[in-house]
């Protein structure tokens, strides 16, 4: 029997931001979530912000596991609640840059109310929503993002509910930065993530992501590679597109790009500015709530 000598494995290029002691991760082969994490690592390298001031908050679901693999202060909260959790975290220490990294079911299904209000208040945070069109971790149920006619385990005859147009929802509620990419657009996605990290206010990035194990299999769309091929052939980059026209139909073209990039005072800026105007010198400007 031939014994193969152990070879020294080169350090993973993302080792500085991944919890290597938690690898291998739980995501399926050809799932796109890992790709989005790679883009995020890329964005972190581009930003000049000190890494110890960046936090990641996730909810529950496949993408909800992202917080568990990123070597930053990272919080795996409850289903639907990463945005209010992040709101508390950010307000307690405004020096932090808080990134919510979660899935469509978590952020706009069960957590939809928090999503619209955080955007309205313009809480300074980056919300990254990985949209795989389905509740994947629980086995493939219909979501608020499932395209019309798509088959899921709880829409076995095809989905008849109109899905959300997420960039339009975010923009309508007041987000200052709105972009959409697919998991194929790794460099453009990383650039958007870096821009969002450097942006002050509620930034939103939707990432259309292949779920080959469940969504693609149920809908006979081929393997992960076929989905990437589909994104390649059907994505249209339209920066500044009217967000009202960004609906996603089943296996039709996907408009991607950066749609919104504007300025608006954040929740905390508005609070400090307004109270200063009203209470003048009696006002103690808010800069953090550290307990001693």
């Amino acid at each position: 029997m031939k014994v193969v000598e152990a070879v020294e494995v080169a350090e993973h290029p993302m080792e500085s931001i991944l919890r290597m002691d938690r690898i291998p991760h739980i995501w399926c082969p050809t799932c796109g979530i890992g790709t989005t994490v790679t883009s995020f690592a890329d964005a972190l390298e581009r930003t000049e912000m000190p890494l110890e001031k960046i936090c990641v908050v996730s909810g529950i679901g496949c993408t909800g596991r992202v917080a568990g693999y990123i070597k930053l202060d990272s919080f795996h909260s409850t289903h639907g609640r990463p945005i209010p959790f992040a709101t508390g975290l950010k307000l307690a220490n405004p020096q932090l840059k808080v990134v919510v990294f979660s899935g469509d079911g978590d952020l706009v299904g069960i957590g939809g109310n928090h999503f619209i209000h955080a955007a309205r208040r313009n809480i300074d945070m980056v919300v990254i929503c990985v949209n795989n069109f389905i509740y994947a971790m629980t086995g493939g149920q219909v979501a608020a993002t499932t395209p019309l006619t798509a088959n899921t385990s709880t829409s076995p005859y095809g989905n008849f509910e109109q899905p959300f147009n997420l960039p339009h929802l975010a923009a309508s509620c007041g987000a200052v930065y709105v972009a959409r990419w697919t998991a194929l657009h790794v460099r453009r996605l990383a650039k958007s993530m870096a821009e969002a990290l450097n942006k002050k206010g509620f930034s939103f990035i939707e990432i259309i992501c292949p779920c080959s194990t469940i969504y693609a299999r149920r809908n006979r769309l081929g393997d992960g590679l076929s989905l990437m091929q589909f994104y390649h052939d059907n994505s249209v980059i339209k920066h500044g597109a009217n967000t009202a026209e960004l609906d996603i139909e089943f296996q039709k073209r996907i408009i991607v790009g950066k749609f919104v990039d504007r300025e608006r005072p954040t929740f905390l800026d508005s609070y400090n500015d307004w109270l200063k105007q009203v209470l003048k010198d009696k006002f103690v400007p808010y800069g953090g709530a550290n307990a001693h």
């Binding site: 202060d73 795996h76 909260s77 209010p84 959790f85 975290l89 109310n113 209000h117 103690v284 709530a289």
Partner: protein, 385 residues
Amino acid sequence: MKADPKGVLTGEHYLDGDHACAEGAIAAGCRFLAGYPITPSTEMAERISERFPYVGGIFIQMEDELGSMAAVVGAAWGGAKSMTVTSGPGFSLMMENIGLAAMMEIPCVIVNVQRGGPSTGLPTLPGQADMMQARWGSHGDYEIIAISPNSPQECFEVVIEAANLSEKYRVPVLVMTDECVGHMTEKVVIPKADEIEIYPRRYTKLSPSEYLPFKPEKDLVPEMVKAGDGYKIHVTGLTHDEKGYPVMSWEAQEKLVRRLVEKIRLNADKIVHTEEIDMEDAEVVVLSYGISSRVAIPAIQKARKEGIKVGQFRLIIVWPFPEKKVRELARKIKSFVVVEMNYGQMFYEVERCAAGNCPTILVPHGGGWVHDPEDIYRAIKEAAK
């Protein structure tokens, strides 16, 4: 350490219980409160929103109580002494993230100004029927601490006590007041800041390479860090090991849940807080808490005048339950009379601890108004037979 004098309104005031809770929160060092309006608790949030701009705090009115409680947990990781306030229906919504707070071992305070229930019940009228929900309202096994004040003065004091206990044991502490106490206006004396003891957050002195977020100290409580300090911690609502990493095994579950439960149960003797009146010779003991303990006073006085040896045993900290004390009493008294505004919640704890050594009589009330002292008096007479 002592309270920050900037937040302490030293002097005599005329406050309702909700406002006194707000002043207690500020004196305790709370500078983050997330809440959602709900009767009869709203006055606390209103006062906080008015006072925080003067003391460097931030109040946020969230979109619902699910969000309020999630924000409270997030804010604690950001380094804040964080609180929220609600009543019945909101308390139900908070259960999800009270469980997260128990699991992540978050120091925080939740004030529940109880009203009549179930469901929407009696929004403007009192109740005391959330006592068992306070203990185990979120799913899974865990322990919390709950305190029940019976006056505006005590509202001020127990909110500080709640904050201190939450820091000491890294556990959510519930202040279980009620509509009567919340809306009752009385004299509240706020002491000088240097007379108010504050238990500081148990921050670690270990370096990031030595520190394990859920490695307990001798009292079973782990030390804390806050986000942004370079520790790069991971915390999760999943069952986790000392590093904070998820572990899906019965062994990890056993180790974690046992500690979450035991850090309160094994420290219960240090936590309990009760008040005893006329107990030296008491043969009948009226056990109550919150507003019901005040309604019981005329009944006890009337019975005493008639020569019945009756005393009052009041729970200030209701959870953990003063099990030892109640067991001891049961062996030497004739009977317990439990007065509470529900059809038997703390009553069953008393009966369990009495363990057949003496009878336990319940004076129930569905809520919406306080007991008629005559009903309590009749129960005392019955108990003394």
